[in-house]
């Protein structure tokens, strides 16, 4: 238990002194993605194998997410930096006996650059990493998320100690954050310093104020916050403590969605460790400042990511938003002034304090400073989390870091900002990414989900998907959102099922306008964005569905037919065997045919065929 700032300095020096920078480490990703591919099992096998081979000077480090999820489970051997991808339990023995013992590289585990076709040995040479700027996310690879010592060894809690040692005035901290140009990473991009300032000046009826970390990352396709919480929970916690000091809060909450069990667990451990170390709780480092954090779990409601709904949920009520004539910084949780920031925003705070305003302002564009973590998913080669400076172009993200589109297909659009965001088409691929440019293009930053779509993605289907999602997630409190989305979903269903009429497009636009203007909270106000942007950039696809009754991307079931190309079919019978309704027939080694009357268009034959003999029309 640390009782003073000097105690902390001693501890920090002690930890750093004990760490040998050249120590041999096998780091293995234990994030949710890699764990699903047996990351945890491999970690255990590694430890056992080291023991078996009598090696004592190598440590196995189970870290949080490295970000390169496509290639998981990922292993990096330090200090050399050898990078192995797709490690399987069978490989463990060879990794220890060859790479660790003799220093030989196992070629089959190396990442092959799809552009040059050459295998790359070291992590730093891989374009996915080399083109990023990982000021927040990079530490994930070096620390065990359950160890506070690991975090302190990379300079953790230094910012907090600095603030307490110098007794920096709260207003001065707020000034620093304002000057840094940090904007809310939750999506809307509200200036963080300004938010803190209004909570600082707001009067509370009993002097209680709250800080909240919003980790209800509900946008489908976005998981940056989760990986930050799973990989480096202390950085978020440190940010919250500094924020609480600045606005004068004694209590804080973190609201994590229940679909992220590992994040809840690791943040819980972090809070526990920080409390035991004296960095959280009563009289932090003997400074007289007290602050504690509680963890609240969501219940699978998307709308709870909205600030007022989130606060209602913490209070034990159904997560329904309220009208925000009065900002939450004046009257939020339990009607007290409350600062609510996103996970990533909080994690930025210690960085700004440590490195200074000028350093931070050097990254990014005029209006948007710093970096942003995006989750690059969908039909892209390098699925994963990428941290890039604001202002980078979409082309750089998709082709340099993302490695282009899967199976060499044609890039069609990128959907940014979750269900409330929009689709940006190919012609805008040189758009620099920052808050303002994305809003101009009809999308928004959102929580940083980037879903890449290729020529096989139907934009009407995508719009329907998001509207359907929001329709189910609408809390039902206000009429425009509750009823409007049902109507829009109905119209889109008509269109995708071949019953579309010409006037439907105008009707969709009109409804969108009403829902956008009249909804109570941002869920409704941004709900029409997917429709509006797809209409703006892909109107021809809507028209093809309506007038030609065709789905150009071959997605909408009622508008497509499956056929066997007799010239390619080898008669292997795999599709006939797999077909659930026995609609495929044909003798062995002869071209098969599909009975269109029986076909339910499930697409299993298409997925099963190894000879590319099935086509969709």
């Amino acid at each position: 238990m640390l009782r003073s700032i000097d105690d902390f300095d001693t501890l920090q020096k002690e930890i750093i002194r004990k760490r040998d920078p050249g120590r041999k480490l096998i780091t293995i990703c234990n994030g949710t993605g890699c764990n699903a591919l047996k990351g945890k099992e491999i970690t255990k096998l590694l430890t056992d194998e080291l023991k078996k081979q009598g090696i004592t000077d190598v440590t196995v480090l189970a870290t949080g997410c490295h970000g390169f999820c496509e290639q998981g489970p990922i292993m990096v051997i330090r200090p050399s930096g050898i990078f192995y991808k797709g490690v399987k339990p069978d490989h463990v023995e060879r990794i220890i006996s060859e790479t660790i013992q003799k220093g030989t590289v196992i070629n089959e585990l190396l990442y092959v650059d799809p552009r040059s076709g050459k295998p790359l040995v070291y992590e730093k040479d891989i374009p996915f990493y080399a083109n990023q700027k990982r000021i927040l996310f990079g530490y994930n690879e070096y620390i065990d998320p359950t160890s506070i010592e690991d975090y302190i060894s990379i300079g953790g809690y230094k910012a907090l100690a600095h603030v307490l040692r110098e007794k920096i005035q709260p207003l001065k901290i707020i000034e620093i954050i304002t000057a840094s140009g940090l904007r809310g990473r939750g999506g809307a991009g509200f200036p963080t310093g300004k938010k803190w300032e209004s909570a600082y000046t707001a009067k509370s009826k009993d002097s209680a104020k709250y800080v909240i970390c919003n980790a209800d990352e509900g946008d489908p396709g976005a998981y940056a916050n989760r990986s930050l919480l799973e990989g480096n929970p202390h950085s978020v916690l440190e940010g919250m403590i500094i924020g609480a000091y600045a606005v004068g809060a004694r209590h804080g909450y973190i609201y994590v969605r229940t679909e992220y069990p590992l994040a809840v667990k690791y943040f819980g451990i972090a809070v526990q460790r920080a409390r035991e170390t004296g960095l959280l709780g009563e009289n932090i480092l003997g400074s007289g400042f007290s602050f504690d954090v509680k963890i609240a779990q969501g219940g699978g409601a998307f709308v709870c990511g909205e600030s007022t709904a989130l606060m209602a949920s913490i209070e034990g009520k159904p997560g329904e938003p309220r009208v925000k004539h009065i900002h939450t910084t004046t009257s939020g949780l339990w009607d007290r002034p409350t600062v609510l920031n996103n996970v990533e925003t909080w994690a930025n705070v210690p960085l700004i304090i440590n490195n200074g305003v000028d350093w931070y302002r050097n990254i990014g564009t005029e209006g948007s400073k710093g970096t942003k973590i995006f989750s690059l998913v969908g039909k892209i080669n390098n699925t994963g989390l990428v941290e890039v400076p604001m202002g980078i172009t979409l082309r750089d993200v998709i082709f340099d870091i993302g490695g282009g589109i899967k199976q060499g297909k044609k890039f069609k659009a990128i959907q940014i900002g979750g269900p409330s965001g929009g689709c940006i088409p190919e012609e805008k691929i040189d758009l620099p990414i920052d808050y303002d440019s994305l809003t101009d293009a009809g999308a928004m930053m959102g929580s940083g989900g980037m879903i890449v779509m290729d020529e096989n993605t139907c934009m009407v289907d995508v719009a329907k998907y998001f509207v359907n999602f929001l329709m189910n997630e609408s809390c039902g409190k206000c009429t425009p959102c509750r009823e409007g989305l049902v109507q829009m979903n109905g119209i889109l269903t008509e269109i995708t099922e071949g019953r579309g009429k010409k006037e439907h497009i105008d009707l969709l636009e009109e409804l969108s306008e009403v829902v956008k203007t009249a909804s109570l909270c941002q869920l409704g106000a941004t709900a029409p964005n997917p429709i509006l942007t797809t209409l703006r950039y892909f109107r021809d696809e809507y028209e093809a569905h309506i007038t030609d009754k065709k789905c150009p991307a071959h997605v909408c079931k009622p508008l497509i037919t499956f056929r066997v190309d007799p010239t390619k079919c080898t008669g292997c019978q795999l599709c006939a065997k797999r077909c659930p309704v026995k609609a495929v027939s044909g003798a062995p080694k002869q071209a098969h045919t599909i009975d269109q009357k029986m076909c339910i268009k499930c697409g299993i034959c298409y997925d099963s065929c190894k000879f590319d003999a099935l086509e969709v029309q």
């Binding site: 949710t32 993605g33 764990n35 699903a36 591919l37 999820c69 998981g72 990352e217 509900g218 946008d219 489908p220 396709g221 976005a222 998981y223 989760r226 990986s227 229940t258 679909e259 992220y260 069990p261 609240a296 779990q297 969501g298 219940g299 699978g300 409601a301 998307f302 949920s313 913490i314 209070e315 034990g316 009520k317 159904p318 997560g319 329904e320 989750s375 998913v377 969908g378 039909k379 699925t383 994963g384 959907q415 979750g418 989900g449 879903i451 779509m453 993605t457 995508v462 998907y465 999602f469 997630e473 809390c475 009823e483 797999r578 659930p580 499930c602 697409g603 299993i604 997925d607 099963s608």
Partner: protein, 300 residues
């Protein structure tokens, strides 16, 4: 529609109609008849017309708010020159034949001069007798719980806290323990945390992670996140639905599987992803068959 033309200046010429019951159907009948020119007597046993509809939130099939439909009709009925309201009254006797009825009505003592009353409602607010709070009979929800359950739930409440703001964590723990939220436990939790039962149900039905029906032995969650969607999760879901013959949210008859959909698990690189009892599986639609067989086999 009650313009001068439709109004019957001399109702006796058309005869008169008595409508019994001042609910929405009675009101509508009275209005239609009155517009057609009949003199209408609307008899209602309650002190005021309206019936059950004002107590409803939404109405089938349009989901419109009940009061929004009813209120204008109430006003129209009250103002209609062809309608005479006879409230707080019972029907005693009917005599005669179609076209010539004589009806006896028992009008209860209202003790208010209806010709002078302007409906301000001040008397109601000021009446001491009527506003005595009526306490419902107290029922201890504890009695409906088995001993083991009582201990389990008490432990949960003690860990999470015995206050209204602990409602969600308590329900989460109960849901995890019992695989759903049993009715008797909901009532007990409501009583112990001093949250009205209606609010407890509101919370229990609002969040998708709570289930009021028992779930199956294995919980299959199909990720419907955007990344999984563009990689073909709808087809995977269709396949699982066809195999298990259930829709999302339902449980198979043998109690083995419950199927649910979830909005993004953040394992986008593996998509389409299916989670069975917290284990993540990358599954494509053509593999669903093998995949389910494997789970069944493990089960034995």
């Amino acid at each position: 529609m009650t313009d001068e033309k439709t109004l019957n200046k001399n109702p006796a010429k058309h005869g008169s109609v008595l409508v019994l019951g001042g609910g929405i159907s009675g009101i509508q009948s009275a209005l239609d008849l009155a517009d057609a020119g009949f003199k209408v007597y609307l008899v209602e046993k309650q002190p005021s017309i309206g019936g059950t509809m004002p107590q409803l939130d939404k109405t089938f099939p349009t989901n419109d708010c009940a009061m929004c439909i009813l209120a204008p009709k109430l006003v129209a009925t009250g103002r209609h020159p062809n309608i005479e309201l006879i409230t707080y009254s019972d029907l005693k006797k009917i005599q005669g034949e179609p076209g010539d009825f004589t009806v006896t009505i028992n009008k209860k003592a209202r003790s208010v001069d209806e010709t002078l009353c302007n409906g301000c409602g001040l008397c109601v607010e000021n009446c001491l007798v009527r506003f005595k709070p009526q306490k419902p009979e107290k029922h201890d929800a504890k009695k409906d719980l088995a001993k083991d359950d009582l201990k389990t739930v008490d432990d949960i409440i003690n860990t999470c806290g015995r206050s209204p703001d602990a409602l969600i964590p308590v329900l989460q723990a109960v849901n995890e323990q019992y695989n759903h939220l049993p009715k008797n436990i909901l009532k007990y939790v409501s009583q112990e945390l001093e949250v009205p039962l209606s609010q407890t149900y509101h919370v229990a039905t609002f969040y998708t992670s709570f289930s009021l029906k028992p779930r199956g032995k294995h919980l299959i969650k199909v990720c419907m996140g955007t990344a999984c969607h563009v990689r073909g999760s709808p087809r995977v879901l269709d396949e699982i639905k066809r195999h298990l013959k259930i829709e999302p949210g339902e449980t198979t008859d043998d109690g083995m599987f419950t199927l649910e959909t979830v909005n993004c698990l953040g394992a986008c690189a593996l998509g389409p992803v299916v989670v069975v009892d917290d284990t993540y599986h990358p599954v494509s639609s053509s593999k669903v068959d093998d995949f389910l067989k494997k789970i069944r086999k493990e089960e034995g």
